[in-house]
């Protein structure tokens, strides 16, 4: 079997499959330790109960409420129930978690969580988990197709039989056959200007699934992180607020008192992002930012627990948070939606699985809580790996047909053969700027309609783009063009789903036309599929086990 994507979810899936006896390989366009999971900062939430009394049900309730009741509660109960064991397992594998004075794994408060539940390694938790998982991959000798760009899923006889990928270092398309494929390709943050995401976060896994006929779920649910650096969009961790940082406006006012008087800075991200955006929009910001003030935490605590944040603030904003507040604004951060899967990672296509940010189980619903993304990668990466290994064992051999590689090659040569026309970068910038402008923190019907037109126009221009590098060796001009193709397809899905959801729920805020949550009409998931060439929206019920929808206040 093959796992595409080698961040936390992909590596966790591959390790589980290997341990179950599967012949498994990882494939990634990056070296595994370069994956964007490594940029996760604040932590991983699980009811370990080290910092206070806690239990998985409390974690599950916080997650359900955080999701604005759009999360599937069966999946959330699994996430929170299996979470502690996964954290202990990573610790056992060597993850260097920060410890409390008793020597237990330390846990800090995080937004939307009723208790201090987020385990962490200073503010480089993702880095530590990626390193640990890669060490386990190396220990097992799991084969890694490093710097292979997965481009097409191959289906044969109603089953996924592998992928066609471009070998970045040597050049050339190769078919890689597998009896089961797990997509763990991460998010699509690069769809937005000012995103916190790496350049690599361009959503190919979601786009490949879409083209294979697999529905994408809740694509309108894009999380905006409240605290990112202006200009670069670099993430300033929620750990800053977990450790006690304040958000203030230009008047020095802790404005969250007006939006979330109980939880203040520890309300959930959608609430804070809207509060920050409102302050900026109503002229109480400073050059389009508000200020994150850590000074009262003191140098010692900042240096011990937030050293990564300090390094980022100094390098990219010229601000030392020990002495000055950090200017921050909301930026696109995480795709709650993704490839529709069940709790085993299975998709609508036999033999195809998805896990992590690429997937939508859905545990995050309309708004993800900080600390739950890393947890999801481990819990559902493991489950997808286990089930895919089992599926591969039962499946009869299917191979990537030669014709699939030949067809893909012809398409690629046509792209490389064009020498007159527009280069992709201008389209990429127009797409990202317009998405930020038109499908951002607050959404208006007419802006989204306009965005749909913009995306259709970009889609048309994309058919004629020119790749300047015609060579085989490390041709990132080519792969960046392919990434743009995926982003344009996914932009359509985000916009049509956003237009279809005529309510305000979690990250999807329509204050001008549909300011309220509408459980009668929209307590259900959007599903986007391609009907011919056009995206089509369908609906899927939300699974409710223990918690009926209630008013959501922080």
């Amino acid at each position: 079997m093959l796992v595409v994507g080698a961040g936390c979810a992909g590596m966790r899936a591959a390790i589980e499959a290997f341990d179950a006896g599967a012949d498994v390989a990882l494939l990634s366009k990056l070296h595994p330790t370069r994956s964007h999971s490594g940029a996760a900062e604040g932590g991983i939430s699980a009811a370990l109960g080290n910092a206070s009394e806690d239990d998985p049900a409390a974690h599950a309730f916080d997650t359900v409420k955080g999701s604005d009741y759009l999360g599937d509660q069966d999946a959330i109960e699994i996430l929170c129930g299996e979470g502690p064991a996964e954290v202990y397992r990573l610790e056992r594998w060597g993850a260097v978690f920060s410890r409390d004075e008793r020597g237990r794994i330390a846990q800090r408060p995080f937004g939307g969580a009723g208790r201090p539940r987020t385990a962490y390694a200073a503010d480089i938790t993702g880095h530590v988990l990626v390193q640990t998982l890669y060490e386990q991959v190396v220990k097992r000798g799991i084969r890694v197709y490093e710097e292979y760009f997965a481009w097409k899923l191959v289906e044969d006889g109603g089953r996924c039989v592998g992928v066609v990928a471009w070998d970045l270092l040597r050049g050339g398309l190769v078919g890689i056959s597998a009896k089961a494929v797990v997509l763990a390709t991460g998010g699509l943050g690069r769809l937005y200007a000012g995103s916190t995401n790496a350049y690599a976060c361009t959503g190919e896994g979601m786009a490949m699934a879409l083209h294979a006929g697999v529905p994408l779920k809740d694509m309108e649910m894009v999380q905006f992180h409240p605290t990112t650096l202006a200009g670069t969009g670099i993430l300033i961790s929620e750990a800053c607020r977990g450790e006690g940082g304040f958000l203030v406006n230009r008047d020095g006012e802790r404005f969250l008192a007006r939006y979330a008087p109980e939880a203040m800075e520890l309300a959930s991200r959608d609430v804070i992002a809207r509060a920050v955006q409102t302050e900026i929009d109503e002229g109480r910001g400073l050059d389009g930012n508000v200020l994150l003030d850590l000074r009262h935490l003191g140098a010692e605590r900042i240096l011990e627990r937030l050293h990564g944040t300090r390094e980022l603030a100094i390098t990219f904003a010229g601000v030392d948070p020990i002495f000055e507040p950090i200017p921050v604004r909301p930026g696109a951060h995480y795709q709650m939606g993704g490839i529709d899967t069940d709790v085993h990672g299975r998709t609508a296509l036999e033999g195809l699985y998805a896990a992590g940010e690429a997937a939508c189980v859905s545990v995050h619903g309309a708004n993800r809580l900080g600390g739950n993304a890393l947890l999801e990668t481990l819990v559902f990466g493991r489950r997808a790996g286990a089930d895919a290994a089992e599926s591969a064992r039962r499946a009869r051999g299917g191979d990537v047909p030669e014709a699939a590689v030949r067809d893909a090659d012809a398409e690629l040569r046509a792209l490389l053969g064009r020498s007159e026309g527009e280069r992709p970068w201008r389209l990429r910038e127009e797409l990202a700027e317009s998405m930020r402008e038109n499908v951002g923190v607050f959404r208006r019907e007419e802006q989204m309609e306009r965005e749909l037109e913009i995306v259709e126009e970009l889609r048309d221009r994309y058919r004629r783009v020119v790749v300047e590098d015609k060579g085989d060796v490390f041709n990132t001009d080519l792969t960046q063009a392919l990434e743009l193709g995926a982003l344009i397809e996914l932009a359509r899905c985000v916009v049509v789903a956003a237009l279809a959801r005529r309510e305000s729920r979690g990250a999807h805020a329509r204050p001008h036309d549909y300011p309220e949550r509408d459980d009668a009409g929209y307590l259900r998931h959007t599903l986007v599929t391609l009907a011919g060439d056009a995206p089509e929206v369908d609906w899927k019920p939300v699974t409710i086990t223990r918690w009926q929808p209630a008013v959501r206040a922080y």
């Binding site: 330790t33 964007h36 056992r92 410890r99 203030v248 007006r258 000074r295 990219f316 300047e468």
Partner: protein
């Protein structure tokens, strides 16, 4: 701002230094400028990138001959100084194209140090984590910051003369496990790094510490491995014997006794082959006569230093002074002006101190149903 730079382009048809000029925003990093060059000037330019926030380790390259992460270099000061930096691929690794190197030799050395935790005990009965004091894990804090970017390897002096040297990254990785109180393979790991391509090949040039973008300080990790090895009694390598003799010489006579250094380090047989060389050194006044021993006036000071370290329980890596200073830098940070008042003049906005709720109450009063 207008940014100019020169890039060593490398391809199948040879290499050439090309100059490019682009308009870039004030806050642009080297990586941003490379992106502008690739988009606006030449799409064939090859380099790696991903996170653009100094955590993925993709964009290691050289600027004016020194390894950097392209995403971590702000260009404004260089532009202001009128500099036109020269960008090239990292050293000590084969160039694939332009700024892209083949990282496989790097990863081969990484794999050679068995880079995974080998737990010392069985799993706890309740499946929970073992209790580990925070300060014991902070001993490997720096080593666990490594992002595998290759900047240290690029600059490694020893590796440039001995390509088989395990090198700074792999050795820092080894120290990350040797220093981990949960690891049970300490002795085997130390034996492994004492092999012929191991720690004693390091020339102590310190370029790895100098160029590491994350403060891992690999040379300090190598020193810690050396100290741990000697503390474990693994001292067969001439490098270890050399280090031991320095200590022995210092605490017996307070000075280094050069005439004894070579036989103590290399053994008698090897030293005999160098008698003529020693004689020439002596004639030139470069070698003090071995007798009477060259003794310091107050040998006791040197002994006190040793006793102080022993009294503080600083065996092995804990006795590495440069390691301690560098570790201090992480714990304390590079703060030149810790005494500056963060709430003093010029601080804006008025900082909110814990418990200072007055402003929040005012805000609530004026909120007017803003929820």
């Amino acid at each position: 701002m207008r940014v100019a730079l020169k890039i060593w382009r490398v391809g199948a048809d040879g290499r050439a230094l090309r100059e490019y000029e682009v308009d870039a925003p004030e806050q642009a990093t080297l990586l941003d400028v490379l992106d502008l060059v690739k988009d606006r000037c030449d799409g064939t330019l090859a380099y790696r990138k991903s996170c653009r926030m100094m955590i993925c380790g993709s964009c290691g390259m050289r600027m004016d001959g020194a390894a950097v992460l392209a995403c971590g270099v702000r260009m404004r000061d260089l532009v202001a100084a009128g500099r036109v930096p020269v960008i090239s691929a990292m050293g000590n690794l084969p160039v694939v194209k332009d700024l892209v190197v083949d990282m496989e030799p790097f990863w081969a050395k990484y794999r050679a140090v068995n880079p995974h935790l080998q737990p010392a005990g069985g799993a706890a009965a309740d499946g929970r984590e073992p209790e580990v004091a925070p300060e014991r894990l902070s001993a490997i804090h720096k080593e666990s910051l490594c992002i595998n970017c290759g900047a240290c390897v690029s600059e490694c002096d020893a590796m440039s003369s001995d390509p088989d040297f395990l090198g700074p990254q792999a050795l820092a990785k080894a120290m990350r496990f040797v220093g981990d109180p949960r690891d049970g393979a300490r002795r085997a790991r130390l034996e492994a790094v004492n092999g012929k391509n191991g720690i004693w090949q390091c020339t102590r040039c310190y370029f790895c510490n100098e160029r590491c973008p994350k403060g891992v300080d690999p040379r300090d990790a190598i020193a810690k491995l050396g100290a741990e090895s000697i503390a474990e009694g693994i001292d067969r390598d001439p490098g270890a014997r050399h280090a031991r003799w320095f200590v022995r010489s210092a605490v017996t006579t307070g000075w280094l006794r050069e005439a004894e250094l070579v036989p103590r380090t290399q053994g008698l047989a090897a030293s005999l082959r160098q008698v003529r060389f020693a004689a020439r050194l002596a004639r030139a006044g470069k070698l003090p006569p071995p007798l009477p021993p060259h003794a310091a006036e107050r040998v006791v000071e040197a002994r006190r230093l040793r006793d102080l370290l022993a009294g503080q329980g600083r065996e092995g890596y804990r006795g590495i002074v440069q390691g301690e200073r560098a570790l201090g830098r992480i714990v304390r940070g590079h703060v030149e002006a810790l005494d500056r008042d963060p709430y003093g003049p010029g601080s804006f906005p008025r900082p909110w101190l814990p418990g200072a709720r007055a402003g929040a109450e005012e805000a609530e009063e004026t909120a007017g149903g803003g929820r």
